[in-house]
């Protein structure tokens, strides 16, 4: 009995230290992104390779699309490059979080709506690579897994919502849902990736998924709500101050 109590105390103490430690670590790193990436070396070789295999078809499709766009309009090359930089820099913006602290948006939802989901598969992957090289966050062997969750599934979901709900709900709600669900689905896919690689020793994949989901829910669910609100406000501001630019991107209904 005593051992159990001591064990529990040690568990809580370790948890509290972790919480404080990660807060301090965040405060110390200038403009560290809070987007959740799988770190270098976290996935066993098999799963790292598998997620690369899943990502490659989307990269091929995305690259073919960019190549087609550039062949039709050469100047789009510059626009795509700067669009990528824009979404990357957006992740350095500090936004107030609904929990009272602050967090950083991922920009995937907004990017998918503005520039298209297949384009984002390429631009987002380059951004992930740069996060690994410029912020030491994320990695090379886990690039496939991170690209699937953040640069492929997230933008696809955002774009799907944007296209399918357009006109059926007020636009503010459509934008909110697109941005917030893009974040949520990124977080869910990452939890699935972790749970598949490290299923619970006793109760298997589902319990592992619940565990990883619970651990990251602390930061990711408030982030999704904040980013949803932020994206709605950005959209309103863009519609009033940059209607010409939006139209030239071919944005329907904006």
């Amino acid at each position: 009995m005593l051992r159990k109590v001591v064990g529990l105390r040690a568990f809580w103490l370790a948890g509290a230290l972790l919480l404080i430690g990660s807060r301090v670590a965040w405060a110390g790193a200038s403009s560290a992104p809070q987007a959740m990436h799988i770190m270098e070396g976290f996935l066993p070789p098999f799963w790292a390779a598998l997620w690369f295999a899943v990502a490659i078809p989307f990269w091929v499709l995305g690259f073919a699309r960019i190549r087609r766009l550039v062949a039709a309009k050469p100047e789009i090359r510059l626009l795509l490059g700067l669009a990528g930089a824009f979404t990357f820099v957006l992740s350095a913006l500090k936004i107030p979080s609904v929990t009272g602290s602050s967090s950083h948006p991922t920009g995937t939802g907004l990017g998918a709506i503005l520039f298209g989901p297949l384009e984002m598969a390429i631009l987002g992957t380059i951004a992930l690579l740069f996060q690994a090289l410029l912020l030491a966050h994320g990695g090379l062997t886990t690039l496939g897994a991170n690209a699937v969750s953040m640069a492929i599934v997230g933008p696809l979901v955002a774009f799907g919502i944007w296209r399918s709900l357009q006109g059926r709900l007020p636009q503010g709600w459509v934008v909110f849902l697109a941005a917030a669900l893009a974040d949520l689905v990124t977080y869910v896919v990452t939890s699935i990736q972790l749970a598949l690689a490290y299923p619970d020793a006793v109760s298997g994949f589902l319990a592992a998924f619940a565990k990883f989901g619970a651990i990251f829910a602390v930061t990711q669910i408030p982030l999704a709500i904040s980013e949803g609100i932020l994206t709605v406000l950005i959209f309103q501001a863009l519609r009033s101050s940059a209607p010409d630019e939006l139209r030239s991107l071919g944005l329907q209904g904006a």
Binding site: A25, E40, L78, A85, F88, F130, L133, A208, L230
Partner: protein, 248 residues
């Protein structure tokens, strides 16, 4: 965002061929993943920090901080591996268990990922992104992709500077005083940044066309030297990791 970039340009290994540095980091990552023992992970972390600090002359404080931040995030994720959950008994909906086996898995994972992370940090702190894009060109990656990456890299810092100026201007006007104002300010800044991005694109377009832009962004390739000590270090690294694997 520019703190790692600054060291990447100013460290002592700046002009060593990017392929050699990337190869060394990849060797460490692959060995760490393949050998998969805590001792190997710890040794790799030590090796990479040592190479970064002594060979490349990156301050330990800076390199260590980068690895430590990832380490804390890692520790968060590893908790999920160490604790096992099952339907509980005796009135409790769930019961948690930490077994010595799950702890061992978690510890192994933590050290392995820390080793790989420090290898990545070594690469990031010693090699500028432009050199790695050069390496991509040598390896025959599509030029369009490299052009996009180059544009993203170049304009990240320009846009980041605009962003910082705008945010400072808002902050001194109490733009981030509470949640509502903070959200509005952040949205305003993001939309202005979008417009700025668009205008920059147009200016860049005009400037490039004035200089005969035909669709390709050509830059001179860098001049690198190949270092013999990289081969020696790679051999030493590989043999010491293998020794640690066999010994423990």
């Amino acid at each position: 965002m520019d703190w790692i970039d600054r060291y990447a340009y100013s460290n002592r290994l700046r002009f060593i061929h990017p392929g050699q540095k990337a190869g060394l980091a990849l060797l460490a990552i692959i060995l760490c993943l393949a050998l998969n023992r805590p001792a190997v992970g710890v040794l790799t972390t030590g090796w990479m920090l040592m190479l970064g600090v002594i060979w490349a002359r990156v301050p330990l404080r800076v390199l260590g901080a980068a690895v430590l931040v990832e380490g804390f995030l890692l520790a968060w994720a590893v908790v999920g591996v160490a604790v096992s959950v099952q339907p509980g008994s005796g009135g409790w909906p769930l019961s948690f268990a930490i077994t010595s086996q799950s702890c061992a898995t978690a510890f192994n994972l933590l050290t392995r990922a820390l080793g790989c992370t420090s290898a990545m940090a070594f690469l990031a702190f010693t090699t500028p992104v432009v050199d790695l894009l050069d390496l991509g060109r040598m390896l025959g990656m599509p030029p369009l992709l490299l052009d996009l990456a180059l544009l993203i890299y170049r304009f990240t810092f320009a846009l980041l500077e605009s962003l910082e100026h705008m945010v400072t201007a808002q902050q001194v006007r109490l733009g981030y005083a509470d949640f509502r104002h903070g959200m509005n300010s952040a949205a305003l800044v993001a939309s202005r940044l979008f417009i700025e991005t668009y205008q920059r694109t147009r200016r860049l377009q005009v400037a490039l066309e004035g200089r005969g832009y035909a669709g390709d962004l050509r830059v001179l390739p860098g001049e690198y030297r190949r270092s013999w000590s990289v081969w020696l270090l790679a051999a030493a690294l590989a043999s010491s990791l293998l020794a640690a694997w066999g010994w423990v």
